[in-house]
Amino acid sequence: MNPQKENTKTSTPKPKRKKIQFSKLYPDFLIDRDWDKCIKCKICIRECTYEAHGWDKKRETLTEDHVKCVGCHRCEAMCPTGAITIKKHPSAFREHDTWKPWFIKNVYKQADTGGVLLAATGCAIPFRNYWDHLVLDACQVTNPPIDPLREPMELRTYLGPKPDKLEVTLEDDKFQLQTKVGPWIKLEVPIMFAAMSYGAISLHVHQGLARAAKELGILYNTGEGGLHASLYKYGSNTIVQCASGRFGLHVDYLNAGVAIEIKIGQGAKPGIGGHLPGEKVTEEISKTRMIPVGSDAISPAPHHDIYSIEDLRGLIYALKEATEYKKLVFVKIAAVHNAPAIASGIVRAGADVVVLDGLRGGTGAAPTMFRDYVGIPIELALAAVDERLRQEGIRNQASLVVSGGIRCSADVVKAIALGADAVYIGTPALIAVGCTMCGHCFTGKCPWGIATNNPELIKRLDPETAFEKIYNLVHGWAHEIQELLGAMGLNSIESLRGNRDKLRAVGLNEVELKILGVKHAGE
């Protein structure tokens, strides 16, 4: 018998070792409370869903737990006396250009949990942003600019295959179009709202997006979470999505919109599926997704009925047959190395619209490594795909829609000059309704009532406000686009499409210029 073993048996059990959590030691933000201004109304406690503010009963005072602060600024915005400022926490690690605090803290998180790093928003790595290296042309002296306030300016865009040629006959002194065209989707502004599922964002945001799309004459996208019963009335401004999980996908849903988008991939997480955690599957979500309350809604990485371009054609035509060829079929892929070849396959498979989502595309939840390092920037992918489709002579057979990192109307104009028919915006629409990009959408605790379906939290953003803000944003952008076009001497967005001569690059190398197909400034 081992005496030592005997000994341990009889000794008193050791107290349970307290596990140290390194990730909880170093806060990202500092909650700075001005005690002269604070009236101890406790609104900050009520507003903070992450419990960063507390109340010390004994001392009758407010407390702060800086580690819990995600930097959403809700308390700061709601404090009636302006006593709170959220600052970057001054606690610093020794400066080191390789081991930045971001990496140190991520290692702590994984050492504490053994988990996969999760993040939201889009790629946070400062890869070169090509939009910021492209400038637009304007008329001077030799050709006059156009003022959109006094002359007509056309932003209308039609999505869908355009015929190779038009046949026109002259009958009784009237021209008659003989070629059968369409169905097409008419957009009054070449901007659409990107797929964000009901589940990822609140019903109120969806209602706001749908109404704004209707008023603006554009489209919004349901994402893959199905369509809430209250939104069927916006059908003519709706794209429904068919993703690998096929949630809430039935005949009524397929017929509800004007287009069906097959989601193959997403710029924020190319090559992986997604899942809505059981915590977010509430009663209402469960009805729309048609899955039990509290169960994980898992979307497999691929569609398991699509392993090839031929299979993709199978699904495109299954959807067309099921909806009697009344709907356009979009196919959305993440922008990856081989995007041009894949896009060519998608067009040949019969898609009406190809959607490219770039490296900087947003998300409510993606593994950080995918968000930051998988995929390529949309500017390069767009230029390469447009060029490839032109070379193959099939560019007219499908429209091209891009997304992933569009931040302002000039980005939209540059995208169209590079060859896009229209863009999708997601993140700007969320920022328009108050998002501060704190990047914690996946917790379901969004204090701004955007990326949550907690019945109490969604009250913080009503559908009316959501509609107004989103409408205003696109309204403003549309006018800016008109001004930019006018300055270039163009009176129609159609004249800008693929017109790369209107672009010049500043500070790009020859390879980049070649891929983008633009000249350097000064040339």
Binding site: K109, Q110, D112, T113, G114, G115, V116, L117, L118, A119, S244, G245, R246, L249, H250, V251, L254, H275, P277, G278, S286, M290, I291, P292, G294, S295, D296, I298, P300, H304, D305, G314, L315, Y317, A318, L319, E321, A322, T323, E324, P367, H440, F442, T443
Partner: protein
């Protein structure tokens, strides 16, 4: 009276137009003759109608459909019942790959073997419980990502006596629903994180109910099928990704 369509040399687009027209005209029983690989038959059809198919239907038979009862007098190709919502597909022979992908309701009864990736991501909601019964054997990935519903695998009426009852990776990523297998399945064929159990009284009832209907539709002997023990395969957890992330 049955309304007959001769599908010889018809493209699927024309064929489906004729099917929709006949249904709109009020026909309740359609007979499709000389079917030879036409895709998407009755895809997206939302109606209570009986369709008898003679020949071999192509890809995605009854995809997205809600209501029709289809009987295939022969084999069918891949994708039968893809994302089907309600109704029934009876296949008197074999069915190809991806049968009942993401199916949310209705029934698919196959007399003999099925291919790969059958019943992937089936899901159930409230009273809608999709059911697939396979008389023969199944290929790899049966019931992968399964989120709900019932798959019953008999392995009795197979053309491949040398093969195991199911291919590998059965039930990989399964997080809901149940798979009943007659006689059981070798452990080598199973995905991870599954539980194999004996049937309880409730299971026996469910099994008998579906098999009674299956035997009625395909003329098999219920008692012969039930003479051997079944095992039940279900996921260990409904939240496979519950503890995956760090933040």
């Amino acid at each position: 009276m049955a309304f007959e369509i001769d599908a010889k040399d018809l493209h699927y687009r024309e064929l489906n137009k004729l099917i929709r027209k006949a249904i709109a005209e009020g026909h309740k029983h359609l007979v499709l003759k000389n079917i030879n690989g036409q895709r998407y038959i009755a895809a997206g059809v939302s109606a209570e109608v009986d369709i008898d198919i003679y020949g071999v239907p192509g890809l995605d038979l009854g995809a997205f459909m809600r209501g029709p009862r289809i009987r295939v007098h022969g084999n069918t190709q891949d994708g039968a019942g893809n994302t089907m919502d309600d109704g029934k597909i009876i296949v008197e022979g074999m069915a190809g790959d991806v049968v009942g992908y993401a199916m949310r309701g209705g029934k698919i009864f196959v007399a003999s073997d099925v291919g790969y990736r059958v019943g992937i991501h089936m899901k159930a909601y409230m009273d809608k419980v999709p059911v697939i019964v396979i008389g023969g054997k199944a290929g790899d990935f049966l019931g992968e990502y399964m989120a709900g519903g019932v798959i019953i695998l008999l392995g009795m009426y197979s053309r491949y006596p040398e093969r195991p009852i199911a291919g590998i990776f059965l039930g990989t990523g399964m997080h809901g629903g149940v798979i009943y297998v007659r006689e059981g399945v070798p452990e080598t064929q199973l995905g991870a994180a599954l539980q194999i159990e004996d049937l309880d009284e409730e299971d026996e009832k469910v099994l008998r109910k579906h098999l009674e209907e299956y035997c009625q539709d395909l003329g098999y002997n219920l008692e012969e099928i039930l003479a051997t023990k079944f095992v039940k395969i279900r996921p260990q957890t409904h939240r496979p990704y519950g503890k995956l992330y760090a933040y």
